[in-house]
Symmetry: C2
Subunit: 143 residues, 2 copies
DNA sequence: GGCAATGTAACACAAAATATTACAGGAGGA
DNA sequence: TCCTCCTGTAATATTTTGTGTTACATTGCC
């Protein structure tokens, strides 16, 4: 399977905040327009980003979403905020290997450590990229 | 989301072949018993492994699945055989970013390269592990 | 020919992601 | 104060993917 689009949507949201903060009122409706999904989807993801401490929302104030230190947010911060993988791990294991089979009995022993290492290096790779490392948004001077 | 259990099932299958080849008749029914899933699931995955050149099936011969050079098969070989990720990539991108928004217009430019690199290093990590690098199956001398 | 196993189609079901409508509640501004 | 805008969240629907199951044609050994 693929990592859900919640992740790219969340990065898109943060890039919008970086770009528009102070210039436009950033509402879920506004973000939905830029991203091309329903505003409720945006609000749910915003909730997750808020829970992770990446953004904060001043309620009632005609739609302002303010953030903090977004440049140093890593892709892992975003990923772990919106993806519910943490509990089960990246790899989905078949649930009922047969303990009466010598292979079935040992399959977790055979695989768990290595799969965990692969997951760890994947997450480490995500941690090594900060938002400021991404290609900057090309400024459109005609607008 | 998670990588589907097809991957761990496929590794389990290959470990069974390594362990039982020459000792037991290896049928989809037999494998289903060790792995704890339906035999049709096994047959479907066997088809994929066969298409990837990892195993071969001598049909009709009272259930024998023979393989080749399994020790040097990498986890990536198995992963790419059973996971349909190749076309879309590891990350699912939201489909309709707004080209009229400066961020929406550039979001692919901002992210695609970096996400591709992360996917590449993930796959490279999988390529670095061969089946013979996994923990060996503990031999049960009482059987 | 009979038997055992594969290869696949067809269908059912569950889980997750995504979309949509609805509405209660907070806060600023007239 | 009242109006309006926006958030937060529930409820529900739809789609997609993964998984389970039954059925059956086909293959090749005995």
């Amino acid at each position: 399977m693929q990592i859900s689009s919640r992740f790219t949507i969340a990065v898109h949201i943060l890039e919008c905040i970086k770009y528009f903060e102070g210039r436009n009122a950033i509402t879920s409706e506004f973000l939905a327009g830029s991203i091309g999904v329903n505003a409720v989807i945006i609000r749910r993801i915003i909730s997750q980003l808020k829970a992770a401490g990446l953004v904060s929302v001043e309620r009632g104030k005609t739609g302002i979403i303010s953030a903090r230190n977004l440049d140093d947010v890593t892709l892992y911060d975003v990923y772990s905020a919106v993806e519910a993988v943490s509990s089960d791990g990246l790899f989905h294991f078949h649930a009922n290997p047969n303990p009466k089979c010598p292979v079935g009995k040992n399959i977790h022993d055979i695989l768990d450590g290595t799969l965990r290492e692969i997951q760890n290096s994947f997450e480490e790779r995500m941690r090594s990229v900060k938002l400021k490392d991404l290609k900057p948004v090309t400024l459109d001077i005609t607008e």
